[in-house]
Assembly symmetry: C2
Homo-oligomer: 201 residues x 2
């Protein structure tokens, strides 16, 4: 990795954790330059525009999410084991990644959901991909025989996302110490309702 690439990554690291606190639209080149001990113009040159910097942060977030949440989970065997691994990693990922201020992507989703442009498009792309991964994981759990054949995988993924979101909010805003436990309770209920009934022996 050349020197340019190296500092660019350093800037991105800082921007990533800063965006976690103030949001992607709250990013400021001046403050970012201060934190990285660079000049505004020197930092700016790496991206060409603020929007490009913001896009880079969003892409960085997606990449880290795939690495920290999805990849390890996909090392589990298909089925319920893997599905549960996704949930556990997911709930943990704001701690795992350097996200002092909560999930960047989810925050960005609320920021940009009605402001057309490249940023909204990027967020949308990321969340669509996530949804697809979830659905795929559920479908495989059905194929593996862990969930009932008539399981609505889209519905299942939809509800998983809901659990994640309310957990984040409860943890961060309401300081609810039971948030994670409640998330798992909700997930277990979800699984129970769609699980294949245990056969009597």
């Amino acid at each position: 990795m050349g020197k340019g690439e190296h500092t660019r990554q350093a800037i991105l690291d800082e921007a990533f954790s800063l965006a976690s606190c103030v949001g992607v639209s709250g990013l400021s080149i001046g403050i970012l330059a201060e934190r990285t001990k660079m000049s505004k113009s020197g930092l700016f040159a790496h991206f060409g525009s603020k929007e490009e910097l913001q896009l880079a942060v969003l892409r960085e977030a997606q990449q880290r999410f795939a690495e920290v949440v999805l990849r390890p989970a996909f090392r589990q065997p298909r089925g319920l084991r893997r599905l549960r691994a996704v949930v556990v990693n997911w709930l943990d990922w704001t701690r795992e990644a350097n996200l002092p201020g909560g999930c960047v992507i989810n925050a960005a989703a609320a920021e940009f959901d009605d402001q057309p442009g490249p940023l909204r498009d990027e967020v949308r792309r990321g969340l669509t991909a996530l949804r697809r991964s979830l659905v795929e994981t559920v479908v495989k759990a059905v194929v593996a025989g862990d969930l009932r054949p008539d399981t609505d995988a889209e519905q299942f993924a939809f509800e998983m996302e809901g659990i994640y979101q309310v957990t984040q909010q409860s943890r961060r805003l309401l300081n609810d110490p039971d948030a994670d436990r409640r998330a798992l309770v909700a997930f277990d209920r979800l699984v129970r309702d769609y699980a294949v009934p245990i056969e009597k022996e």
Copy 2:
């Protein structure tokens, strides 16, 4: 209502729908003055500071939420009827209130969840009150005999909020036309799991 109070409310209306699009922290006095055809200083005088304006918007949002969602639902008899009315009104409230850009409170929750200060406190207050209302409604459904006596009302409310949040995101960002239907499916599953079993006759 004196003239001062009247224009203040007009400003607040505009700020409310603007914040729905750009977020509470994205509000700008200049733009707001432009939209209300006032001078910046004239508008400013009604609030004394930007933060006070933002707080007023958050309080306005809470008040409208209570009027549009909770109050009508509480005219239903206690129990499942009322609980369902809350859900239906809730899903509809961004259309009902003047919220072209989605729920202000939820967006603010993501914006301020790790930025200590009066704004975060206000959001927190609002969401805590909401959670309490939900729990109370669930408890009354238990007392009314619609839900099982061992129902964990906090858990129930927790999951309801999750359903709401993912529905908003699916609707606004992913343009999912099935979002509302999925929300009701999820809610029905929630009710079914906690409902008192139908007695055999």
